[in-house]
């Protein structure tokens, strides 16, 4: 029995569609369990905890660190203050050393140890990477949730599988070869999938950034004074003395251009900070401005220039010019 040409075409179209669907990445669903309007009491500080994984997964230990790191890198774009991963690990090390699994640490303990308002927990359900001639795939399937440690409530959660595959459904021969080659680089392949995973999830996570725009206040610096003068050339042994008046009980330092940075300033009386630097023989300072900085506990820093003089060191070249 001869098949009808229309039927043939329908079959081919259906196959093409299936191929297209099977090779495209899935959509992500994030369940948000809190209000996101103006009255949202958003957590300011967040820590991404080490992710756990099913022991049956061959690359589990590897993919959990890739996903955690990549997720944080993209998560930092949102309006939360995130704790660096190293800091999180160092703070958790003592309790983990006692044999307590990360998922068994209570929210109260986490808040106390990490000093953050919320944490993100992650669990790798599955991860795959294989390249087999005409078919290649890399995938990461994971569950993520963000918990408000102040209320013990889950703010959002998601379970998602990100798949990057290439096979007979790939539309061109060049792409097929290219995908196979790329997929054989396991590290790169997992990074790409982790990146897609993170981007898709992050697109659905509420971002408090716009609610925080008006709350930002840099520390206040009122005035800066220094003992350098307009046309003076500095010489080895000369002392640059800088004073700054501003908000009290903060951390101050000054820079000489980008030549010498982070010179500490001491708060000698409430709101008055002073610091000094003695010019050394090999110092190369030419036309640098003095910049004072004042930082608060939130990590915000204010800067103010001392513009009454440029720091210029007397050099042999300058002496010869004279």
């Amino acid at each position: 029995m001869k098949s009808h040409p229309i039927k043939k075409f329908t079959c081919a179209a259906a196959l093409a569609l299936v191929a297209l669907i099977s090779t495209s990445c899935g959509k992500v669903r994030v369940d948000v369990h809190h209000e996101t309007g103006k009255n949202w009491n958003y957590p300011e500080t967040v820590a991404v905890l080490p992710f756990s994984y099913d022991s049956a997964i061959e690359d589990g230990n590897y993919t959990r660190s890739i996903l955690r790191k990549t997720f944080l890198n993209y998560f930092s774009y949102l309006g939360y203050n995130d704790l660096p991963l190293d800091t999180v690990d160092v703070k958790l090390e003592p309790i983990i050393k006692t044999g307590v699994a990360i998922n068994d640490i209570s929210n109260g303990q986490l808040m106390k140890i990490l000093g953050v308002d919320a944490v993100i927990r992650g669990h790798i359900i599955n991860s795959t990477n294989f390249t087999a001639g005409i078919y290649a795939e890399t995938s990461i399937e994971a569950k993520l949730e963000m918990i408000d440690l102040r209320t013990n409530k889950v703010l959002w959660d998601t379970k998602h599988m990100e798949l990057d595959s290439s096979g007979i459904g790939t539309l061109s021969l060049v792409d097929m070869i290219h995908d196979q080659t790329e997929n054989s680089n396991v590290d790169k392949a997992y990074h790409q999938v982790a990146e897609s995973f993170a981007l898709k999830v992050l697109a659905k996570i509420p971002d408090p950034a716009s609610l925080r725009h008006n709350e930002i206040r840099l520390p206040r610096i009122e005035s800066v004074e220094a003992n350098i003068k307009g046309n003076n050339k500095l010489q080895p042994g000369d002392l640059i003395y800088v004073s700054m008046e501003g908000e009290s009980a903060l951390v101050g330092h000054f820079d000489i251009g980008s030549f010498k940075t982070g010179i500490p300033m001491k708060e000698v009386s409430s709101g008055l900070y002073t610091g000094s630097y003695r010019i050394k023989k090999g110092d190369l300072i030419d036309g640098a401005l003095i910049i004072t900085s004042l930082s608060n506990k939130k990590g915000l820093t204010a800067k103010k220039f001392y513009k009454k003089a440029l720091a210029i060191k007397e050099t042999q070249a300058l002496l010869e010019k004279k």
């Binding site: 081919a12 093409a16 297209l20 495209s24 990445c25 990549t70 944080l72 890198n73 993209y74 930092s76 774009y77 949102l78 309006g79 203050n81 790939t170 539309l171 061109s172 021969l173 060049v174 792409d175 097929m176 070869i177 290219h178 080659t181 990146e195 897609s196 981007l199 408090p208 950034a209 716009s210 925080r212 725009h213 008006n214 709350e215 930002i216 840099l218 003068k229 307009g230 046309n231 003076n232 820079d255 251009g257 980008s258 940075t261 982070g262 036309g287 640098a288 401005l289 910049i291 900085s293 915000l300 820093t301 204010a302 800067k303 103010k304 220039f305 513009k307 009454k308 003089a309 440029l310």
Partner: protein, 421 residues
């Protein structure tokens, strides 16, 4: 049957073998060149000095067309994610955006025109990353489609204006006949799917950012050709630093000049007379040190033998009223010391080599309601234009004004005397 097979089998001719080889090479070449990159990137040696102690602010990305907004957001997000692994600290995006908003800096197209030093004071950052989307082009021609993204970026040290990194990159990918479609439907569907799938734009942008930021993450790996030969300073900073330098030089000169007024000259005959002169004369030249910060003045002995300047050339009047023409300062020390008319006081806020600068200062002060004027003088034979404000019958009133200048205008000034004409 075997014999038939043998006879039907035609061995590969050398020509056919060559065609296969060429095809394979072509496919391989296409495989590795399908996605093309054009990257030009250079870093400054000083970028190596950056550590976690330094903070970088990634500013909102400038766009040329409205439809580039999404790509701009992708680029910024990618820059944040990739540079999170750099040696420096990143200022949170919400902090950057919030502070820019508070200062009404909402248009990224203006960022390059702003002196980076201003960003230091607004954001508290040690460097700013300014970037722009130069192009986002999607093209479709039935059996061929392509996406091209072009960006430029530069990282500027806000403390010095030095450009730490500058890059321009174009990333392009395509789908079509050249990639050898796996079937007729692929040849038709491929280009459509490629150009309409948002993920492809994201993938290209992600690749672009990955390559773009590689050198910033590891500046020590930069080759010689990827390093600036000499420090490049942002033009807006260079301009402002030059202004600061000029003002500083003039202020230093002014300090010298004021010292000349206040220091008792060394013993020449005339000077001796001056020192031994009447109290009123001595008062006229008595040091006003009480009102000056000694740390900011270069105390130098007054030079003797100032050249007198012709009287008629000394009276300077500006277009804008009410500038007071003043008594020319062409009287010698000896002449001054012998005068006995009642003292009048004024305050001096500046002394300039060029009249234009003095005029500018006077104009600014007039706009603020001060009764400013230029008093010409000479210094080592060269003209000097002093800016004086107001006249007072007693010194106390003059001192009050110097305090006002210090607090309200952040300008140093000192009291001096004038003759009452």
């Amino acid at each position: 049957m075997n014999a038939n097979l043998k006879t039907n089998f035609t061995p590969l001719t050398p020509h056919f073998g060559r065609v296969v080889k060429v095809t394979l090479v072509l496919i391989l070449v296409l495989t590795f060149t399908a996605c093309t990159t054009n990257l030009q990137s250079k870093v400054a040696g000083n970028l190596n000095l950056f550590s976690k102690q330094q903070t970088v602010a990634i500013l909102p990305v400038e766009i040329i067309k409205k439809d580039q907004k999404e790509t701009a957001e992708m680029l910024r997000q990618g820059l944040y994610a990739h540079l999170k692994e750099s040696k420096f600290n990143l200022l949170e995006r919400y902090v950057v955006d919030g502070l820019l908003k508070q200062h009404d800096l909402n248009n990224p197209a203006d960022f390059l025109r702003i002196n980076p030093m201003r960003f230091a004071e607004i954001l508290g950052a040690d460097a700013v990353l300014i970037s722009r989307i130069n192009r986002v082009e999607r093209s479709y021609l039935v059996v061929h489609s392509s996406i091209e993204v072009g960006v430029s970026a530069q990282l500027v040290d806000t403390r010095t204006g030095e450009i730490l990194w500058r890059a321009e990159q174009t990333e392009q990918d395509y789908q079509g006949i050249a990639k050898i479609p796996t079937g007729i439907s692929s040849a038709i569907l491929g280009p459509i799917r490629f150009v309409t799938n948002k993920l492809n734009l994201r993938r290209i942008t992600s690749k672009l950012v990955n390559k773009l930021t590689a050198i910033v993450k590891n500046p020590e790996d930069a080759e010689k050709k990827e390093t600036f030969e000499e420090p490049l300073i942002a033009s807006s900073t260079a301009r402002d630093l030059e202004k600061i330098k000029t003002v500083n030089d003039l202020e230093a000169e002014w300090a010298e000049d004021s010292a000349a007024y206040t220091k008792v000259p060394l013993p020449t005959k005339t000077q001796k007379n001056f020192q031994e002169g009447p109290v009123s004369s001595q008062q006229r030249f008595a040091p006003e040190t009480g009102e000056m910060d000694s740390e900011h003045i270069n105390w130098v002995p007054r030079k003797v033998g100032l050249q007198p300047v012709a009287l008629e050339s000394q009276v300077r009047t500006l277009d804008k009223p009410p500038i007071f023409t003043t008594t020319p300062a062409n009287i010698t020390s000896s002449q001054k010391s012998t005068r006995s008319e009642p003292l009048q006081y004024t305050i001096q806020v500046g002394a300039y080599k060029t009249e234009a600068n003095a005029n500018q200062m006077v104009s600014n002060l007039l706009e603020k309601g001060y009764r400013a004027r230029i008093t010409p003088d000479t210094k080592s034979g060269a003209p000097l234009f002093k800016v004086h404000v107001d006249k007072f019958g007693n010194k106390k009133q003059a001192l009050k004004l110097t305090k006002k200048f210090a607090t309200e205008e952040s300008l140093s000034s000192f009291v001096t005397t004038i003759s009452s004409n």
